[in-house]
Amino acid sequence: MDKLFTFERITIEPPLRAICRRLGYREGLTQLRPDEARTLGDRIEQARALVTLKGTARRLPILSKAPGRIRLPGERCLESAQLASLLADSQEVLLLGATAGPDVIEAIRRDAAEDNLARAVVFDAAASEMVDAALDWMETFFSRELRREGRRLTKSRFSCGYGDLALENQRLFYELLQLGRFGVELTGEFILVPEKSVTAVAGIEPAG
């Protein structure tokens, strides 16, 4: 089952509520004039045109589990007690990676340099939420496949740099997911470039 799945174009609607929440909008508190709401909508639409979501995924068997340590094929290990706990019932892992592409990052930088930070923050929030939604999209895709196998994904997923899963693991994700094929690079500090690129891991466990 160890093979790379490639998604050349992930088509999703911008998750408006999540974008607004990320920008600090609070239902019942934040007061938005109609023209401000229209400008926000237009900017999210502009961000949508700048974001090109692509992704890859890889199913890998878990060779062994020890407390705080998940062993994968090819002498690879993920060290994290929290991840090990999430994967307690899992026999496989599903690695996921997605990128929003370089165009939106360039637009954010250009806007920030040209005194249009107000638009840049909307682009930033929209790209962040869209790339996250791309991971949700891939999870939905695999959930459908897995249901027919009598399996399912764990309820949550984990990303490098969160909890006790060190950001240094990003190299393992980057290599296994072959994110370089989309022009994504990994810096010496384990940051994915363009910045609106993410990776995550979920477990595959029996449904019954």
Binding site: E8, T11, T30, A118, R147, E149
Partner: protein
């Protein structure tokens, strides 16, 4: 009637056709372990799958599906099985023997689990070949028809349908899986799926899996008004949920069958069950609907185009359709160069621009001499199919690029065009029919362009007669009025308009013109074009090929819709006017005194007004320093407070901040030197630390600080500790701000502070960023702020009140 269809249609003539229920969950119940290949397990345990088929047939299913959902070489290959044809043949035979004459057997084709270009990496022809292998096996096993099911990707459904249609003429059903939001995972809505698949030759279209019967009625209702074929509903037994570690479905047989009447009422003529349903569910379903008539399709033909994500129906009374003409290399050197180099980025950009400008459809022409137009057309069409939701118009003088485009385009396209030239007609009509495309009928012949409307009408009738032999109706065409240049023939525009009027009123067909030809050779062409557009619209024009970015075309088109009764309550016109009125240019209420309006402008983030208001205040005698101190700074403080109370969110905070910045720049030349010093709060040095490239948060902090009178030295991102310390020595800042977003770069903050201290710098530090916490800040001897507003407050606290 096509061969093999009668058995299905006979039942549909009497009552709804009943399919089977779930196979996978039934097999699991009957002993199939998790994780095995279901198809191979069934071959090893034929009695079990035969039992499932037999039970469904006995429960009243008219059609059972072969257990070949995953029997394609991609999925079988994952279990080490290579002979897809043999697996399909064996499983079809098991199904036929299990049901004998009690039910029909449909060869089941499911997704490969891979996405096809343009949505994935799998080549379209490879996908067709994968499915053909399956089709051949199923045919050898004796199936009565086919079902392509649980498709998430319209392109994959198309590949499978083409595989069946190129192999046999058996009755073929296609069902897609829609999420609760009413779209497939890949963004296709039910109506769009219907329009694309029925045009391509599906004999029945519908949905399966994903939802229970209640939600599915919505999807069927959306398809019903445009359906030329029977509609299928095969819902789950409710929504899956986890219970005690197992996936369960809530609806028992009676609950599942209860909404079936509503599904038939919504338009479903073919019903069955998906995940969680059992022979018991199907028996109850059959009982519930067996006395109902199967709803017949409402349409015999349909004038509609689709992309992968959108449908455009040419309904009577619809506003004028605008076909964007931009993606055409004629006269566009940059596009010619791009296409020659095999690039598609400019075409994608042009598609986006035309979409933004209000185009409904996009014309695509790649006619550059000397290039492989067939290959180029495929690449451009695939690129645009993923980049824009607008349906495409395939424009070529050659037949091969058109055929290639129609094969790979994941929608129902419009061909531009098919004329009465003998060879072209003979070559293109079968191609258009095979892929179910609409076409622009160009009334010219091998003898040239007829001059009068009457002669053009005669050519239209001849072509239409030929087209009817291939199954086309007048709903499948748009008659081109043929626009000639007014400058060279003053009668030409009139003949075009007469052709349009004849086609619209006498023939009852849709019409189109390529607008810009009319003004060729004349000055100020846009006005001639716009006037002609209005005249053609009044003559019954359906669509115009034009430049959507031209404001005159946009307004004339929408105005013509109002005057032609095609814009109910002038809603489109009013929306257009509201959109083009720039909201950001609202001036604060004129009745308020200028300083109040200046304050309002900052509170509202009105960048355009602030410079003028400052000039007005100064002209009225206001003191520049007092304006800053008493009006502008309190306003920006008020903005921060509103942000703190969540009354403002980030875009408002920043819009106000940028307005304040512009205001301060406008005020700067009028401030006395002494005022400048008094207003100045000192220097703050900020940077994103080495290794980190995220800087939007730092930029916000810089903006906030500047607006509160601080001089900010922003060193940018990815800045080494040594440089930060050098700049501290140089600028002597009152506070140093450090930003980092990642756990790996956050530690660099401590390095910077250590280095500064070692070199004798005692300035205070403030840190922030996504992963930075107050605890961490304390541990490295720094202050902490969670956002720009708090950063200003903390720094003000550190350095004390302003002088």
């Amino acid at each position: 009637m096509a061969k093999g269809h009668r058995k299905f249609l006979d039942i549909l003539g009497r009552r709804p056709l009943i399919l089977d229920g779930a196979t996978g969950t039934e097999l699991q119940k009957r002993g199939m372990p998790a994780g095995v290949c279901p198809e191979m397990w069934c071959i090893d345990n034929p009695g079990v799958i035969a039992g499932v088929h037999g039970d469904y047939a006995r429960a009243g299913s008219d059609v059972v599906y072969t257990c070949t959902f995953g029997a394609n070489r991609v999925k079988l290959g994952q279990y080490g099985q290579a002979d897809a044809r043999s697996v399909n043949r064996q499983l079809a035979r098991i199904a036929k023997e299990a049901v004998k004459d009690r039910a029909l057997v449909a060869g089941d084709i499911g997704p490969t689990g891979r996405f096809i270009r343009p949505f994935g990496e799998l080549d379209f022809e490879e996908a067709v070949s994968i499915f053909k292998e399956q089709v051949h096996g199923l045919l050898a096993g004796g199936v009565d028809g086919f079902v392509i099911e649980t498709m998430m990707d319209i392109q994959e459904a198309r590949a499978a349908l083409i595989a069946v249609k190129e192999t046999c003429s058996l009755f073929t059903m296609v069902t897609m899986t829609f999420e609760r939001d009413g779209r497939t995972l890949n963004g296709t809505d039910p109506l769009t799926a219907l329009v694309t698949l029925q045009a391509l030759g599906a004999d029945a279209v519908g949905c399966n899996c994903s939802t229970g019967p209640d939600d599915m009625a919505r999807f069927i209702s959306a398809m019903r008004p445009c359906a030329k074929v029977p509609l299928i509903a095969k819902p789950n037994a409710g929504l899956p949920r986890s219970s005690g570690g197992a996936t369960v479905y809530d609806m028992d047989a009676a609950e599942f069958a209860r909404p079936a009447g509503a599904l038939v009422g919504a338009g479903a003529a073919i019903l069955g069950g998906c995940c969680g349903t059992t022979p018991g569910h199907l028996a109850a379903l059959r009982k519930t609907v067996s006395r109902r008539k199967a709803p017949a399709p409402l349409r015999k033909s349909l004038a509609a185009l689709s992309s992968a994500r959108r449908t455009l129906v040419f309904e009577p009374g619809r506003p004028l359709v605008l076909i964007g003409e931009g993606i055409n290399p004629t006269g566009r050197k940059a596009l010619q160069e791009e296409l020659r180099e095999g690039k598609t980025a400019l075409a994608r950009q042009m598609a986006r621009d035309q979409e933004t400008a209000g185009a409904d459809l996009l014309d695509v022409n790649v006619g550059v001499p000397g290039i492989d137009q067939e290959k180029t057309m495929q690449e451009v069409v695939l690129t645009l199919a993923a980049a824009t939701p607008l349906p495409l118009v395939i424009d070529s003088a050659k037949a091969e690029p058109i055929e290639r485009a129609l094969r790979v385009y994941p929608g129902r396209a419009l061909i531009n065009s098919i004329s009465g030239e003998r060879e072209k007609l003979k070559r293109l009509l079968p191609v258009a029919a095979k892929y179910g495309a609409m076409f622009i009928l160009l009334p010219l012949t091998d003898g040239g362009i007829p001059e009068t409307a009457e002669k053009r009408a005669a050519v239209v009738r001849t072509i239409l007669r030929e087209a009817r032999r291939h199954g086309f109706t007048r709903d499948d065409i748009l008659v081109d009025g043929i626009v000639m240049t007014a400058a060279s023939n003053p009668d030409a525009p009139r003949e075009t308009l007469r052709t349009v009027r004849w086609a619209a009123e006498t023939l009852g067909a849709r019409t189109v013109v390529g607008l810009s030809n009319v003004s060729f050779g004349l000055p100020e062409r846009k006005w001639i074009n716009a006037a002609f557009l209005a005249m053609a619209s009044a003559s019954g024009l359906t669509a115009a090929i034009a430049n959507p970015a031209g404001e005159e075309n946009l307004f004339v088109r929408k105005a013509a819709d109002v005057l032609g009764g095609r814009d109910r309550d002038a809603a489109g016109w009013i929306a257009l006017c509201a959109k083009t009125r720039d909201p950001a240019r609202r001036a604060p209420a004129e009745t308020l005194p200028p300083p109040r309006r200046l304050r309002e402008a900052i509170l509202e983030g009105n960048r355009e007004a602030v410079g003028g208001l400052i000039a007005e205040c100064l002209k009225a005698g206001a003191d520049a320093a007092a304006l800053a101190r008493e009006i502008m700074i309190p306003a920006v403080v008020e903005v921060g407070e509103r942000f703190g109370r969540k009354e403002y969110f980030l875009p408002q905070l920043i819009a106000s901040g940028e307005t304040m910045k512009l205001g301060m720049e406008a005020l700067e030349p009028f401030l006395q030197e002494s005022s400048r010093e008094a207003a100045g709060r000192g220097t703050i040095l900020i940077a994103t630390v080495k290794g980190d490239i995220h800087d939007i948060g730092k930029n916000i902090v810089a903006l906030m600080l500047r607006n509160h009178g601080f001089r900010v030295v922003d060193l940018g991102r990815d800045v080494a500790a040594e440089r930060i310390v050098r700049e501290i020595e140089r600028h002597r800042p009152r506070v140093v701000g450090l930003s980092a977003l990642m756990t790996t770069t956050m530690t660099r903050m401590e390095e910077v502070i250590d280095l500064a201290r070692r070199q004798g710098q005692q300035c205070p530090f403030i840190v922030g960023g996504a992963v930075v916490t107050r605890t961490y800040a304390d541990s490295i001897g720094a202050e902490y702020a969670r956002d720009g507003v708090e950063a200003v407050q903390v720094i003000q606290r550190i350095i004390g009140p302003a002088k």
